[in-house]
Symmetry: C2
Subunit: 382 residues, 2 copies
């Protein structure tokens, strides 16, 4: 969800906007009720769609990234998954037509709570309907139709994006050939719900949140900063921070002497990263997308988790977990793999021993690239 270097790049020069057409009854119906009269998605793409339109890959993002997953000639700034996507890379844009959209409900160009409600002429704010992982998946489905793709070669997603990929496969059986789910979950568990609920409550407790009706001049920046820090703590792992920060202190001459001020480098690091984030991310988008993950539960797609997963009709799946992930623990990744296998899906499960916790997929090129590359190479050679 968050790499301190480039996760929140919001690049515009390569980003296109597309308004979804051909929606049933002309509107976007939300999974939990309500609808949107119009949905625009901001997306970027890399590579060329083959004449038979059989080489498309959709990338679903975590909570916060934009559509700018990788650089391109139109925008050479590094994307949030730069190491993974490009010519000759694991997701090889010489071979695949790769699409990444800003999530529905997000704030980097796609329709979300910061968008104008065409009915009222004002921002949706907290009047935006509930956003679910299923809705994010559906918006991706209609986006791909707009781009001339009926059946995906693959859907790839990490964290919330992994849930979206699974939701896509369950909602549109047979429409994805290959599925890659990284550090995702079949359903949110109490600790994870608690950590996200607390982040949302911190934002909502900032008086500037004002029930979602803040203005550009008075956004709940304090709440966003605290929530973001809590997010960062949950995305990383203890041992990485031990080796990176240990008990290093901020130099004495940089201290103000104020009671309870930051004294340790780890405190400064969190402050720096929170400040970088809060000026580019819409608080209401944070609330909506955070909540969507709490609700996700494949059991709602059938009578049970097994039954939900049995909707899946993919040729093969790759499931990746990280040993030090406390938010979406490896145990949950093994569960995804086991549930898929129980429905006779062919599954490669890889558990990566990385110190980088939940954020490993954003950082750990060395471990992730070979695994994803091999899976996708095999998917076209077999």
């Amino acid at each position: 969800m968050a790499d301190e270097e480039n996760a929140y790049t919001f690049a515009t020069t390569a980003t296109r906007n597309i308004t979804l057409r051909n929606l049933p009854d002309g509107e976007f119906k939300m999974w939990r009720g309500g609808s949107l009269p119009e949905v625009t998605l901001a997306y970027e793409s890399w590579g060329e769609l083959s004449p038979s339109a059989d080489n498309a890959i959709i990338i679903f993002t975590g909570l916060s990234p934009s559509a700018h997953a990788a650089s391109s000639p139109e925008d050479t700034s590094p994307g949030w998954w730069e190491y993974m996507i490009g010519p000759g890379k694991a997701i090889d844009t010489n071979r695949f037509f790769v699409v990444c959209a800003n999530s529905l409900g997000g704030c980097y160009g796609s329709t979300g709570p910061g968008s104008i409600n065409p009915v009222t002429g004002e921002n949706y704010g907290a009047e935006f309907p509930d956003v679910t992982v299923e809705d994010i998946a559906s918006s991706g489905y209609y986006l791909m139709r707009e781009l001339g793709v009926d059946k995906l070669h693959a859907a790839v997603g990490s964290s919330m994006g992994g849930m979206s990929s699974i939701a896509y496969a369950m909602q549109y059986p047979g429409e994805i050939r290959y599925l890659i789910s990284i550090s995702a979950a079949t359903q949110a568990l109490p600790l994870t719900i608690a950590l996200r609920s607390l982040q949302r409550e911190i934002i909502r407790s900032d008086p500037d949140w004002n029930q979602g009706r803040y203005t550009d001049d008075s956004r709940p920046l304090v709440g966003m900063s605290l929530a973001r820090k809590l997010g960062l703590v949950s995305y990383r792992a203890a041992d990485e921070w031990n080796s990176k920060f240990d008990r290093s202190r901020i130099p004495l001459e940089k201290l103000s002497g104020q009671r309870f001020e930051h004294e340790f480098e780890i405190e400064k690091y969190l402050e720096y990263n929170a400040q970088k984030f809060i000026h580019s991310f819409d608080p209401n988008s944070y609330l909506y997308l955070s909540r969507s993950m709490d609700w996700f539960d494949i059991a709602e797609h059938g009578d049970s988790m097994d039954d939900g997963m049995s909707k899946l009709q993919v040729a093969r799946a790759l499931v990746i977990g990280v040993t030090t992930d406390i938010l979406f623990p490896a145990r949950q990744q093994r569960e995804i793999a086991d549930l898929m296998r129980a429905t006779d899906t062919e599954v490669d499960y890889v558990e990566i021993d990385s110190v980088n916790g939940h954020d490993a997929f954003l950082i750990d090129d060395e471990h992730f690239s070979p695994v994803v590359k091999k899976f996708l190479d095999d998917s076209v050679c077999k």
Copy 2:
């Protein structure tokens, strides 16, 4: 630090106050500078001091408990460590004279930021000097002198209290025969500092904190509630909550329909426990005691951690860790044991496989009592 049942009992009928006398230069000098002209400690005791004054045990508490560690004829309400302390229990009050004080800096009767500064006639608030684990240990040392005890049979502490026990032993070599350290640390590590720093920042960000100058009518209750929830999340372990809460929902008829309201039982549980806490705990005490743990580092008692630990002169130590503790991980408990052994201290190390995380010592009678009982029984029989 927190048992949902009884950790914050603030009982008065058995609590006594004692003003520390015989302080060097007539004042209490703080470890990080500054001093207090007067220190009063609120304490309770159980059992009788032997004629030779050789059976005294001091209990150091975690961040939040009061002196009411156990019931007594004077106050029959259960204490925060009720299962551990009493006639015939692991810390056997038929045999030992057991003392527990509210920590210096706390808010349950001992001198702290909520106390009146005799110099100004007003509450100290954020003008209270920095409190360290060393100061908490020292105040315990002077308390025991007041009670007629020169040399302790044992010091026992969990979490912050474990640090205090170690600090006591380092600061007063040879003054403790037996040491029990449970889920403590030789020094705070970055993840733990981050989690505590964030709690403090949440409190300080509540406008009602007002630089520590709040009144009884306008305490930073919102900040305290959010901080307390974050604390609770860090004290428990994922698997316990999975089995206790899973994805249970608050019944529909209890929902208001407000956007982003609590829907899961885990959210309700945190809210309930936070509300119970915030009306009895002083926010400034929370800030001071929380910070004291970040600073603790046995390396400051010598040239290195080894050198600091070499100050210890105890006959034997019991070190207990819990497999699922994310705040003071078992690895840190093994480190304490190893550092003690390196100074030729005899050490029993026990790692308890409990689902209760950092809070296990408050809950897990079955695992903890036999271990503590055996250690203390052996301490008098050998």
